[in-house]
C-alpha cells in the first residue's frame, strides 16, 4: 500500500515513565487493518470541504463524514455526519473542519484539521472488540461484547457479563478454538460467529505484528448483507518499536502540537506542557515527577515536566533552558538535579552558558546534589549570576521557587 495514503497527523504521547506511545487517527488505524486483510469500509482522506465532496462522489452516497481527532465521543460532539448528497457533504465537511471537540471526560479541546470520508454502512448490529496489553498479567487480552456502540466502561458497568475477556498465550497467540469460545461466550449470533472469530484472531496478529498495545474497534458492525466490518479504529503503538516500523515513524506530528513539546522533541528531550508558571527541570522521570509534586505542595503551579535524562551534558541543559523559557507563562525556574551518571559540574556549566547565551533574567532556583556537586556549586558561585538562587534541599528549593514565581 502506498505510503502517501497513510497521511499525516498521528500524535506521539510522552508518558511519565519515559516510554513513548503513539496514537493513530481512525483512518490510520483502518489503513493498518486493511493491510492485514481486515474488512473496513472504503474511505478517502480529505482536509477541505471541496476535497470531501470529491471523495463522496468517488465513494457514492450516502457517506459518513468523520472528524479525525484522537478522542472518543466524536459522534455526540457532532464530529460524525451522514451525507446523502454533495450539498450535504460540502456543508457537513465545512462544519466539521475547524470544530473543537471535547472528549467525554473533558479532554481537549481537539481542533479538527482533517476528515475521513467513508462509504456509508447499513448497521444491523453493533459489537465491541479490543485487544490490549494487560500489564499485570503480562499477556495480551481480548475483549468482546455484543453490546457495541457505547463506551466500554458503560458496557462493563451496565452488564459485566456482556463483556467477555480472554488472555492470549504470549508464546502461541490466539487459536481458532479459543476465538470461537470467546464468540460463543459473548453470545454473538451464530450466522456471523465465524466472521467475528476470524476478526479476533487477526486483531491479535495485528497487535503482535505492528507492536500495538491497544486496538479498540467500537463498533464492530454487521451490515445489511450480513458482513462483519470494523467501523472504527483506536490504535496505540509502542514507541519503542518504531525502529521496525519505519512507515509509522515517518508520519509527521499533528498540527495541533504544543510549541514547547514540538521544540523539545526536536532536541530529544522528554517534555510535557502543564498550565502553571514555574518551569521545571529534573533528571530522571521519577525525580522530575516528584519535583512537580513538591512544588505543587508548596503552593506553586508547574509549567512543565522536563526530564533532562541520565548523563545530561551542558548542551542538553542549554537546550532544556531554551525550551522552558520559550513558554511566555514561565516566571521562575527550578532545577532539581541529583547526579548519578549526570555530573553536577556539567549541569552547572550548562546553566552558566545558557544564562549568558539567552540573557536569562528570570529567577532560577538550583538544587544540585550528587556526583561532583561541590565542583558544580563552586562554578555557579564563581559565575556570580544575579538571578540564581542555590538551595541545599529539594523541599527548600520548591519553597523558594514558589516564593519567587508569584502568581
Amino acid at each position: 500500500m502506498a505510503k502517501s495514503t497513510f497521511g499525516y497527523a498521528f500524535r506521539s504521547r510522552p508518558t511519565p515513565n519515559s516510554s513513548k506511545v503513539m496514537d493513530l487517527l481512525e483512518y490510520q488505524g483502518k489503513e493498518l487493518f486493511a493491510r492485514h486483510g481486515l474488512p473496513v469500509p472504503k474511505g478517502v482522506h480529505a482536509s477541505t470541504a471541496d476535497a470531501a465532496v470529491d471523495a463522496s462522489e468517488l465513494l457514492g452516497y450516502p457517506v459518513a463524514v468523520k472528524a479525525q481527532v484522537l478522542i472518543g465521543g466524536r459522534g455526540k460532539a457532532g464530529g460524525i455526519k451522514i451525507a446523502k448528497d454533495s450539498t450535504e457533504a460540502h456543508e457537513y465537511a465545512g462544519d466539521i473542519i475547524g470544530m473543537d471537540i471535547v472528549g467525554p471526560h473533558g479532554e481537549g479541546p481537539f481542533k479538527v484539521h482533517e476528515l475521513w470520508v467513508e462509504a456509508g454502512s447499513e448497521i444491523e448490529s453493533e459489537f465491541y472488540a479490543s485487544v490490549i496489553l494487560d500489564r499485570s498479567a503480562k499477556q495480551l487480552m481480548v475483549m468482546l461484547s455484543r453490546m457495541g456502540g457505547m463506551d466500554v466502561e458503560a458496557i462493563a458497568a451496565s452488564d459485566p457479563d456482556a463483556l467477555v475477556k480472554q488472555h492470549v498465550d504470549p508464546l502461541a497467540g490466539l487459536d481458532e478454538d479459543e476465538a470461537r469460545e470467546i464468540v460463543t461466550r459473548a453470545k454473538i449470533p451464530g450466522e456471523v460467529s465465524g466472521q467475528v472469530a476470524s476478526v479476533l484472531i487477526q486483531l491479535v496478529e495485528v497487535a503482535q505484528a505492528e507492536d500495538a498495545t491497544l486496538i479498540e474497534v467500537n463498533p464492530l458492525i454487521v451490515n445489511a448483507d450480513g458482513e462483519v466490518i470494523l467501523l472504527d479504529a483506536k490504535v496505540t503503538i509502542d514507541g519503542n518499536s518504531l525502529f521496525r516500523h519505519p512507515e509509522l515513524e515517518e508520519l509527521p506530528e499533528s498540527a495541533d502540537q504544543d510549541p514547547q513539546e514540538a521544540m523539545a522533541k526536536e532536541r530529544g528531550l522528554t517534555y510535557v506542557s502543564l498550565d502553571g508558571n514555574i518551569g521545571i527541570l529534573g533528571n530522571g522521570a521519577g525525580l522530575c515527577m516528584s519535583t512537580l509534586d513538591v512544588v505543587a505542595q508548596a503552593g506553586g503551579r508547574p509549567a512543565n515536566f522536563l526530564d533532562a535524562g541520565g548523563g545530561s551534558k551542558a548542551e542538553a541543559i542549554i537546550d532544556a533552558l531554551e525550551v522552558i523559557t520559550s513558554n511566555p507563562e514561565v516566571t521562575a525556574i527550578l532545577f532539581n538535579i541529583f547526579g548519578g551518571i549526570t555530573r553536577c559540574d556539567e549541569v552547572a556549566r550548562g546553566i552558566i552558558e545558557a544564562t549568558n547565551k539567552i540573557g536569562l533574567e528570570l529567577p532560577l532556583v538550583v538544587r544540585l546534589d550528587g556526583t561532583n556537586s561541590e565542583e558544580g556549586l563552586a562554578l555557579l558561585a564563581d559565575a556570580g549570576l544575579s538571578n540564581l538562587h542555590h538551595e541545599a534541599t529539594m523541599l527548600g528549593a520548591a519553597k523558594k521557587v514558589v516564593e519567587l514565581a508569584g502568581n
Binding site: N17, D23, T236, S290, D369, M394
Partner: protein, 291 residues
C-alpha cells in the same frame, strides 16, 4: 547473604566491549563486584582491562563460573540477549537497556518464569547491595550499608531517598531498581517477598510512580503476606496522566493508575506513604528506630 546480588555474585556483562557497558561494568568491578566475564559474539578471547570476553553467555558460565548476567546491549538486540542469558544457566539476569519493545518482552518474561531465572528490568538502574556488590548504574557513593531494603521503579528518585536515609544515619541492605516499563521481569511483589525473608532487612521502602496497577497489587500483597514494616513513596500527583484514547486499560486493571489511587490503596492496607521523598525517608528512619 543479601538478596539478588552479594559477595558470591559472579557477573558476566553482555555488551562489555561497548562504551556504556565497559564504563559501568568496570565501575561495578571497581566497587568490588566479581566481574568474571564479558560477552560479545565474535570477540571471544579478547579482554576488557583484564576481564575475559567470551562469544556466548553459556560459555562464560561454563568457563568462568558466571551466575549473574547484566544486559547492556542496544534495545533492538536486547531481548535476544536476555533470552540467551535465560537459557545459559545463570540464576539472575539484570537488564539495564532502555527502549525494548513490549512485544519482545512478553515472551521473554514467560521464558524467564518457566526457567526459574530471576529477571530484573529492563530499563532499570540495576541492583546494589552496599558493601558487597553493585550490578548496574546506581551510584554507590550515596548509599551506606544498613537494614533498609529499597525497591523502586525510578532511578534518580531512589538516589534521592537513599541519600536522605544516609544523611539520617541509616543505610540499605539492598537497593533494587525494578524499572518502569510496562513489562518488567520482577515486580514490587517479587522483591517484597525476597526482602521479607532476608535476615539483613528490617524495613522496606517502596518507591512507585503513576501508571499500571503494580502499587495497588503490592498493597494487597503487603497486607496478606509481608511481616516487615513497609514505607512507601509515590511520585506523580501533579504529572499529566497522558491522554487516554480507549478506556479498556482501566477496565482490566480496575484502577485509574493515578498517584492518588495508589496512595489510597496503600494507606488502606496500613502502609505509611510519605508526601515527599524527604518525608518518606523520615518515616522510614523513625519506624526503623522504633522496632
Amino acid at each position: 547473604m543479601s538478596i539478588i546480588i552479594d559477595n558470591d555474585t559472579k557477573l558476566v556483562v553482555s555488551g562489555l566491549t561497548g562504551r556504556e557497558g565497559s564504563f559501568h561494568g568496570l565501575r561495578n568491578r571497581d566497587y568490588g563486584t566479581q566481574l568474571v566475564a564479558g560477552v560479545t559474539p565474535g570477540k571471544g578471547g579478547q579482554d576488557v582491562e583484564g576481564t575475559p570476553i567470551y562469544n556466548s553467555i553459556e560459555e562464560s558460565v561454563r568457563e568462568a563460573g558466571a551466575n549473574t548476567s547484566m544486559i547492556f546491549v542496544p534495545a533492538k538486540f536486547a531481548a535476544d540477549s536476555i533470552n540467551e542469558a535465560i537459557e545459559s544457566g545463570v540464576e539472575t539476569v539484570i537488564a539495564i537497556t532502555e527502549g525494548i519493545p513490549v512485544m519482545d518482552m512478553l515472551p521473554t518474561y514467560w521464558k524467564a518464569r518457566e526457567k526459574g531465572v530471576r529477571l530484573i528490568g529492563p530499563n532499570c538502574p540495576g541492583v546494589l547491595s552496599p558493601g558487597k556488590a553493585n550490578v548496574g548504574i546506581i551510584p554507590a557513593q550515596f548509599f551506606d550499608q544498613g537494614r533498609i531494603g529499597v525497591v523502586s521503579k525510578s532511578g534518580t528518585l531512589t538516589y534521592q531517598i537513599g541519600n536522605e536515609l544516609k544523611q539520617a544515619g541509616e543505610g540499605n541492605s539492598t537497593i533494587v531498581g525494578i524499572g518502569g516499563d510496562p513489562i518488567i521481569g520482577s515486580d514490587f511483589i517479587d522483591i517484597l517477598t525476597l526482602f521479607d525473608s532476608d535476615p539483613e532487612t528490617d524495613l522496606i521502602v517502596m518507591v512507585g510512580e503513576i501508571g499500571g496497577d503494580a502499587e495497588e497489587r503490592a498493597a494487597e500483597f503487603i497486607a496478606a503476606e509481608i511481616s516487615k514494616p513497609v514505607v512507601a513513596y509515590i511520585a506523580g500527583f501533579t504529572a499529566p496522566p497522558g491522554k487516554q484514547m480507549g478506556h479498556a486499560g482501566a477496565i482490566i486493571s480496575g484502577s485509574s493508575g493515578t498517584a492518588k489511587a495508589k496512595q489510597e490503596a496503600l494507606e488502606a492496607k496500613g502502609v505509611r506513604v510519605g508526601e515527599s521523598p524527604t518525608e518518606a525517608a523520615r518515616i522510614a528512619v523513625e519506624t526503623l528506630r522504633s522496632l
